[in-house]
Symmetry: C2
DNA sequence: TTGTTTGTACAGAATTTACTGTATGTACTG
DNA sequence: CAGTACATACAGTAAATTCTGTACAAACAA
């Protein structure tokens, strides 16, 4: 069964590649490797089979698979006649990509905008007050400009994420190389 | 000097915000905080002044500032009459954003594509060979499809990064909210 | 009901990552 | 030339993250 081994090695190489790539996005290698495993397994897998395949604890499989679920990269499959939870990879990488960064980037932004607005207000008060020493006003002015710039930038980032969430980005950068449709 | 304190607090709040945001992108909080400090300092800063301001070791300042330099978020400033290296933030956040993800994402992709191509070739050999058992051929076929899909996806990602690097993305998502120019 | 199977919370262990202090090299100064 | 000021390499330490094993809870079976 030399062919068996050859296939296995080819697959492993690509799993490593996927793992490395996901790691670049801040996903732990073990979690990435688990995704790779699920991606190539035609059948959905149970926690026990993942554990056996990766040689890790079942606890780790449980938490890793949950992470992948939260990232919408893996879904639970129901199958008649088994009590085990079964999982399979979600195979739309484009959707995974846009979802991942939408979730991740959007996370902080609204809070960030709120905190900048608060600081902006405080600084504006300082600038309006006649009690504020002149050199403080100068510094306040500098800060205010930078706050405004930050707000502008976060607004842009929000609009960029909008194009991810609505899939409009694929109008601009089409999935297929040669056909500009969809 | 109550005004002094008030301004300081407003600024610190925004620095925390920036730190948090950068941390989301995989930049360490200390490094993010250093960027925030440099962003609000009108004058460029020396390693010693950073150290004093953040209460960390000079070694840390040295390595952190180097990281920021590699990410093109900070640049070295030359100033007559001082032997210290002086640094200032690069204030174009849009450019910083596109640069950062171009550098980061592009990093792996070409190697990834190469390794997938290699595996693709090996699997194709298996499929063509008459010695390969039928059940291995079936698995190989499955794998091959997934390799091809991955290649397609990485190609898309490359084209997305192209729009970042060339700043074409700003045609699609303009920097200014209301004026579609630039 | 009791026994069994399965998934997960939690605490501690192991590993990785980030930080510090010393030691050294290099470039200026006089 | 020595002497000083500065930045950084490197090794060791501290802190954070990830992983494991046990213990327990929920769901099911008989």
């Amino acid at each position: 069964m030399d062919e068996d081994l050859k296939l296995e090695r080819a697959r492993m190489r690509v799993i490593d590649t996927i793992t490395q790539n996901m790691n670049l996005y801040g996903i732990t290698p073990s979690v990435g490797r688990l995704y790779g495993l699920l991606y190539f397994n035609e059948e959905p897998m149970s926690l026990d089979s993942m554990k056996d395949e990766l040689g890790m604890s079942k606890t780790s499989m449980s938490t890793s698979v949950r992470q992948l679920q939260e990232l919408k990269m893996v879904e639970k499959i129901w199958k008649k006649g088994t009590r085990k939870d079964l999982y399979h990879s979600v195979d739309d990488w484009y959707q995974t990509f846009t979802d991942y960064f939408s979730i991740k980037w959007r996370k902080g932004i609204s809070q960030n905008i709120a905190s900048i607005n608060k600081s902006l207000e405080e600084v504006s008060e300082l600038l309006e007050s006649p009690n504020t020493p002149i050199e403080i006003k100068e510094a306040a002015n500098n800060d205010k400009d930078r706050f405004l710039y930050a707000l502008e930038y976060y607004d842009w980032l929000n609009r960029l994420i909008d194009t991810f969430e609505t899939n409009e980005i694929f109008k601009f950068v089409p999935k297929q190389k040669d056909t500009p449709k969809n």
